[in-house]
Symmetry: C5
Subunit: 87 residues, 5 copies
């Protein structure tokens, strides 16, 4: 899991039926100082996150545990971050 | 999941029986500005994607949820992208 | 699995219900000489680890075997390290 | 999944019983122009691939779907490539 | 899967109960010429490997197939390598 920021959306009309109604967000990964690291990804939202918000991202088979089962999703947003405290 | 563009095809005659009939596409990953990042991969199509189209790619165990079960596929195309909006 | 050090915490009020009560820690991966490598991640604690401690980190579907099932967690702390001996 | 070339073999006498009889091949990953990228890996063959051949490689839990179940294998060769066509 | 060499051990007293009795080894990944590549990891031994030995490493859900089930382990040693033949 890692810290990310929502930076956009992906629109897809022609897609797997099980993905209908899901919100595909573009995210950028952040380090503990909230600086961007690595490349952007697509994540499915499960907590009502919007552009500009900092979120917790979950990958792999765990990502679809919040989406009702056998869906082709490997990255989901599972929390909105209030604060990151390091030091 | 990430944004990718279909750039080619792989032909394989001698392969696992469970892969017969599947379409193996060569994809290049794109960032949110639609610039290529990283290395090309092979993905199995599930939505009728063709060369040049932008797609949503799913990895891992989620990739085979759209292919009918226990098949040796770890990367699949699950949507065709209309637009990517970042701001 | 790899060696990491706990360097902070993440606070998230709005999150998946199954994550309520979990402790989200910021970790930095270490090499065998205990020098930082790579980028920070978020891990869920399962052994009472605190800031500054060296820990064993587990990724993927294995990470949620210690958290009671189908939770959206892909990284967990499964041991506190006493010593690393390399020769 | 990605394109790879078989470049060698690994011999292991002392190993998990469930691995007895499997062929462990050293592979190098190739890009769409068939140039080596990244580091070599070990893959278990499931289609009769030999040294010098170009193959389709599958990773993760999908890799063991062709090996009869609960075996400790995370990378397998699932097809021999005739041609890669990119435009 | 990849080639690695055992270079040390990790001692952890406070850990998940299901990990008691397991041997945590520090490994370094090797390429096909047996040169170190990448960063060290922690692997659980399943074949009696010792420091200095070359081994086959398995990652992901496959890693715990040799450890009796639902344990928080994502990397295991599943074979001791006699020889690597490339060329």
């Amino acid at each position: 899991m890692y810290i990310a920021r929502v930076i956009g959306t992906v629109v897809s009309t022609s897609k797997q039926d099980s993905l209908i109604g899901m919100k595909f967000l573009v995210i950028e990964r952040l380090d503990e100082h909230l600086q961007r690291i690595g490349e952007s990804e697509i994540a499915v939202d499960s907590v009502g996150a919007g552009t500009g918000e900092m979120v917790i991202v979950c990958k792999g088979s765990a990502a679809r545990t919040v989406l009702g089962g056998q869906v082709p999703v490997d990255t989901s947003i599972v929390g909105i971050i209030d604060t990151v405290e390091v030091g």
